[in-house]
Amino acid sequence: MTSNVNFLAKAGLQTLIDNLVSLGYECIGPQVRDHAIVYDVITNIADLPVGIIDIQSPGQYRLEQTGDKNYFRWNNGPQAIKPLVFKPEEPIWSCQKSPDGNLRFEKNMISVKKRAVIGVRACDIAALFLQDKHFLHDHNKDEYYRDRRQELLLIAANCTKSAATCFCNSTGDGPRAHYGYDISLTELADGLLVHTLSEQGENVIKELELRTASQEELAEADSLINEAAEQQRSLPSHNLKDMLFSKLKDARWQQIAERCLSCGNCTSVCPTCFCHSENEKPAMNGEVSQHTRQWDSCFSQEHSYIHGITIRSETQYRYRQWLTHKFGSWHDQYGRCGCVGCGRCISWCPVGIDVTEELNAFANGA
């Protein structure tokens, strides 16, 4: 861990939340809802999932209460940071039709709150950076994404345990956050190590009761994070583009399709998927129509529809699109793999299809 790492007693987390609130941030943090960890507004450390860990495996996710005093011992649930910046559904413009037939278009204006997110994992920070590249990289910037992104203060939690489905170590995106956060926390048995990377972060922690972390505390953090880096799953290599595109006609695609339900769960939990469709919602009175966008998936029938033809009519083509895009063409589009190793698509696949297993099988020619 880098220099100027401080130690904060666990009770100090409440002060951290209070500071955020008094600095005008809406405070978003992990909490248990419907048997899963999600990010939403918190006001008190009691809202945090204290003592909670998750048990994850292909097609499985469940929570367990250990009774310990850890706030951040869980691994990622289905929800990433993505919905805070790229909303699952939102109006983008509306059209008003006057009695004489004239059309008046109005852009949907949003007012954005300053938001602080507590407990963000390294993989999700990497995913945000990937989405930044997609939504903000050329002159047609996505204003909604940009406005929300700019107002986001990120308080990372380094992973001190990994789920069986995690493989961030092999994508190079975790378990320790190295960049992109304002403040990072590493939870030890009886306190938290605190590090900052930005002025805003400094500003938030300056009134906390901090002291410089000891060598022992730094070593404890390192050993916890190193343990989290020992993961059961991994990718066959960093760049799978050539390998995948050389196997477009492999029989394995059809074998996967026999298991895959084409439900799109994998793309909807994936923190880097950016696909969305646009839809029209005319009001009952016939005078105004809302144009909205909502997340879409390359597993949907409409995704590849052009009049009279569905380009990806079969599940095998959809699964192939997902894999060859995420692990292949993404390299050309944005200079790196589109996967950050969060493992969500493995846990949340109803039939337990495991991307790492499939990729390894393709790579090994099995």
Binding site: I92, W93, C95, K97, G101, N102, L103, R104, F105, K107, H134, F135, D138, N140, D142, E143, F245, L248, F274, C275, H276, S277, E278, N279, E280, P282, G286, S289, H291, R293, D296, C298, E302, H303, S304, Y305, I306, H307, G308, I311, R312, E314, Q316, Y317, R320, Q321, T324, H325, G328, S329, W330, H331, D332, Q333
Partner: protein, 276 residues
């Protein structure tokens, strides 16, 4: 203009071209928007029908015409059929232009082969008109049109006019025809021995069903035409037209912004693979 949001445009004229093909001549209601609007042949707009949604449609008029721009549309589904029901004086929403059009600078001084298949003629009409207006800048122009059935052939007067222009070779083919079809019966490629061009100085542009474009590309490559001299216009589902929604992806390409016009060379690795 901000191309992420539609702008009001008036239908100045509506022309019925064939039973389900029509042309809308449009003008932005805001004069400044109209004046600032510029495009290239092969680019497209997103046309918005109130309450129904947006569809990508190529611009077919001449880029030098500052007052109006035209779209020729086939009524096939929800939005296009709704557009077909509109009249002169009605309003729609338009945003654009989008994408990269035909390589017209590269085409200058070269012989040209324009191949259109099936019903997908709009993007090539714009380029044919463009070239015919600036005839002296190009070599021999070959216009090849293939249709499924002779009944699908329309715009006969235009083809007659082009046929009578100097240095212009018009070839027509129908997969099936009736007794009065005077032209060739068979696939367009079976007409290719009648093309007139210098293989070292030619540019080929095509638009239509991918099977046809693939057959033409293979034929040309077998005849030693460089892959970078073969250009084609691609079609995929489009929602945003600005490279964000992901629907138009073709491998690493976003057809809406990297295309819709590509050289064969740029897309050959996935072209014709089912599912892309």
């Amino acid at each position: 203009m901000d191309i992420r949001f539609p702008h009001e445009a008036e239908i100045v004229e509506r022309i019925q071209e064939s039973p389900n093909l029509f042309t809308l001549r449009l003008r932005f209601t805001d004069p400044q928007t109209q004046q600032a609007y510029q495009f290239e042949p092969g680019q497209f707009n997103m046309l918005y029908l109130y309450g129904a949604g947006e569809v990508p449609i190529s611009i077919v008029s001449d880029p030098m015409d500052d007052n109006l721009y035209d779209h020729t549309i086939r009524a096939v589904g929800r939005v296009t059929q709704g557009l077909a029901d509109l009249h002169k004086g009605d309003y729609i929403g338009v945003r654009g232009p989008f994408g990269r059009g035909w390589p017209l600078e590269q085409a200058e001084q070269k012989d040209i082969v324009i191949v259109t298949g099936g019903l997908g003629c709009a993007p090539t009409v714009s380029v044919i008109n463009y070239i015919m207006k600036r005839r002296e800048r190009f070599g021999t122009v070959n216009i090849v049109q293939g249709v499924k059935h002779s009944n699908d052939f329309f715009w006969k007067e235009r083809y007659d006019m082009w046929r009578n222009s100097p240095n212009t070779n018009v070839l027509l083919a129908a997969d099936a025809g009736d007794a009065i079809w005077p032209w060739h019966i068979g696939p367009v490629t079976s007409l290719f021995d009648q093309l007139e061009y210098d293989p070292d100085n030619v540019l080929i542009m095509m638009c239509g069903p991918e099977g046809m474009m693939r057959a033409v590309s293979h034929h040309m490559i077998e005849n030693n035409i460089d892959e970078q001299s073969l250009w084609l216009s691609m079609e995929r589902n489009m929602q945003c037209a600005i490279g964000h929604c992901g629907h138009c992806q073709f491998g690493e390409k976003f057809i809406c912004k990297d295309g819709p016009v590509f050289s064969y060379h740029e897309i050959s690795s996935l072209f014709g693979i089912k599912g892309y």
